[in-house]
C-alpha cells in the first residue's frame, strides 16, 4: 500500500492557543481513516488542512507525494472530494447542477457531464430522472447527503474528506447512509478521511481509527484493535458502548 496523504509533525495555533500539535499520520491508499474525538478536539481543523481551507502554522501536509503548499490550491481541491454535515448544496442549483459542479469547473463536455451525473445519482440510490431536476429544498436530509456524496465523487477524486456527514440525520437514515457508504467504498475502492464523534460509526466504517484529544493524537489503531486500546480517552469513548449494552 502506498501513502496518499500525510501529516508531518503538524501544528496549528490561533494567536497563542494551540489547536493541533505534533500530528504525524499517514493516510494509506484504499483505507478509511476515521478521525475520532470530542467536540473541540481539533479533528475538523485537521481535516481542513488537507484541502487547504486552513493552513498549518507548523509542519506540513502532503498529498500525492507533494507538500500541500506546493500545490495550486484550486487543483488540489478538485482532486479531493469534500462532504460536510448539512451537505452544503447550492440552493439555487438543481441536483444535477450540484453534482455536475466540479466537472463543469473542469470544463468537461456537456454530454460527458450528463452521463456522469446520471451514473452518480444512480450509484447513491437516487433515480436521476426523478431527482435530477429538483432543488435542494425539495429533498429530505438523507437525500441531500446522498447528493452531497455524489457531488464529492463527481470528478473521481482519489481522496474523500467527510466531516461528520451523517451526524444530523435521524438514526434510521444514518444507518442506511452508513451501509451505503460501506458499499460505495468497497465498490469504488476510495480512500477516505472521515471525521466523527460517534464511536459506533468509527468502528463500523473505519479501517483505522485515529483518536484525538485536545489537539494531539492519543491512539492510532486498526478498527479491530481499537477496542483493546488502553488510553483513558479511548476507554471513555468505548465505555459509551458498554453502557448501551448494559441497558
Amino acid at each position: 500500500m502506498s501513502t496518499l496523504a500525510e501529516f508531518r509533525n503538524l501544528q496549528y495555533k490561533i494567536s497563542e492557543r494551540t489547536i493541533l500539535d505534533e500530528i504525524s499520520l499517514q493516510v494509506e491508499e484504499g483505507e478509511t481513516l476515521v478521525l475520532l474525538g470530542r467536540s473541540g478536539s481539533g479533528k475538523t481543523t485537521l481535516l481542513k488542512m488537507v484541502n487547504r481551507i486552513l493552513t498549518p502554522t507548523g509542519g506540513e501536509v502532503r498529498f500525492e507525494g507533494k507538500a500541500a503548499h506546493d500545490w495550486d490550491p484550486i487543483q488540489l481541491r478538485r482532486r479531493i472530494g469534500y462532504v460536510i454535515q448539512d451537505a452544503g448544496l447550492f440552493p439555487h442549483y438543481t441536483v444535477e447542477q450540484n453534482v455536475g459542479l466540479v466537472p463543469r469547473l473542469e470544463k468537461w463536455e456537456p454530454a460527458r457531464i450528463q452521463s456522469r451525473v446520471g451514473e452518480l445519482l444512480a450509484l447513491v440510490g437516487l433515480a436521476p430522472e426523478t431527482y435530477g431536476v429538483r432543488y435542494p429544498r425539495q429533498l429530505s436530509g438523507g437525500e441531500k447527503q446522498r447528493v452531497g456524496i455524489a457531488r464529492a465523487l463527481a470528478a473521481d477524486p482519489p481522496l474523500l474528506l467527510l466531516d461528520e456527514p451523517f451526524a444530523a440525520l435521524d438514526p434510521v437514515t444514518r444507518f442506511e447512509m452508513q451501509q451505503q457508504f460501506l458499499k460505495l467504498r468497497d465498490s469504488l475502492n476510495k480512500t477516505a478521511l472521515f471525521v466523527t464523534h460517534d464511536i459506533r460509526e468509527a468502528l463500523l466504517l473505519g479501517s483505522r481509527i485515529a483518536l484525538l484529544k485536545d489537539g494531539r493524537l492519543e491512539v492510532v489503531a486498526k478498527a479491530s484493535e481499537f477496542e483493546s486500546a488502553s488510553s483513558p480517552e479511548a476507554r471513555a469513548f468505548l465505555s459509551t458502548l458498554e453502557t448501551h449494552a448494559a441497558q
Binding site: 487543483q75 451537505a87 452544503g88
Partner: protein, 203 residues
Amino acid sequence: MLLSEILPALLEHLWLVGISVAAAIVISAPVAVLLTSRARLRRWTLGVVNVIQTIPSLALFGFLIPIPFIGGVGKRTTIIALILYALLPILRNAVVGIMGVDAGVRESALAMGMTHRQILLRVELPLAFPTILAGVRIATVATIGTATIAAAIGGGGLGTFVFRGIAMADSNVILAGAIPAALMAIAADEVLGWLERRICFWA
C-alpha cells in the same frame, strides 16, 4: 389640470428616480463586495451612509446648493441628493445579502475548487440577489416620494405641482402631483415585488 401637463412631469419624475436608483446600484455593487471582507471599513461606511439618511431632504438640498461642481440649482443637484438617499437601503441590503450566504455553502464552494471570483459571481451574488432586490425596491419607493421635494430646487418632476399648489393654496393642483406620485410608488413596489418572487425560485 390638463393631462398634457401632468404626463411630461410624470415622465420627468420617472427619469429622475430611474437615473438616481441606477446610479446608486452602480456605486453600491463594488462597494458592497469590498465591504463584506473588511469589518472596520464596513462599520464606518455604513455609519456615514446612515447619517446621510437622517438629514432631512429639504436640508440636504439646501446644503448641496452652495457646493461647487456638484451643487447649484437644478437637476444635477437633485439627482445627487436622490442618489445619496438611495445608497443606504441598497448598500446595506447588498452587504447583508452577501454576508448572509450560508457558511456551509461558501465552504463547499471553496472546497470544490472554485476561485474567489467564481464564488462571488456564481454563488454569493445569486444567493444574495433577492435581498439586494428588496433593497432596490425600498430605495425606489422612497426615492419616488423624495423626488417630489426636488421641485423646491428646480429639479422638476411631479413635485412642481405640489409646490405650485401650495403657493396657490389650491389643493387640486397639489393632488395633480401627489396622486400620480403615489400611484407610481405603488406600481413600482408591485413590479419589483413580483420580480423578487420570480427570481427567488429555489427557496
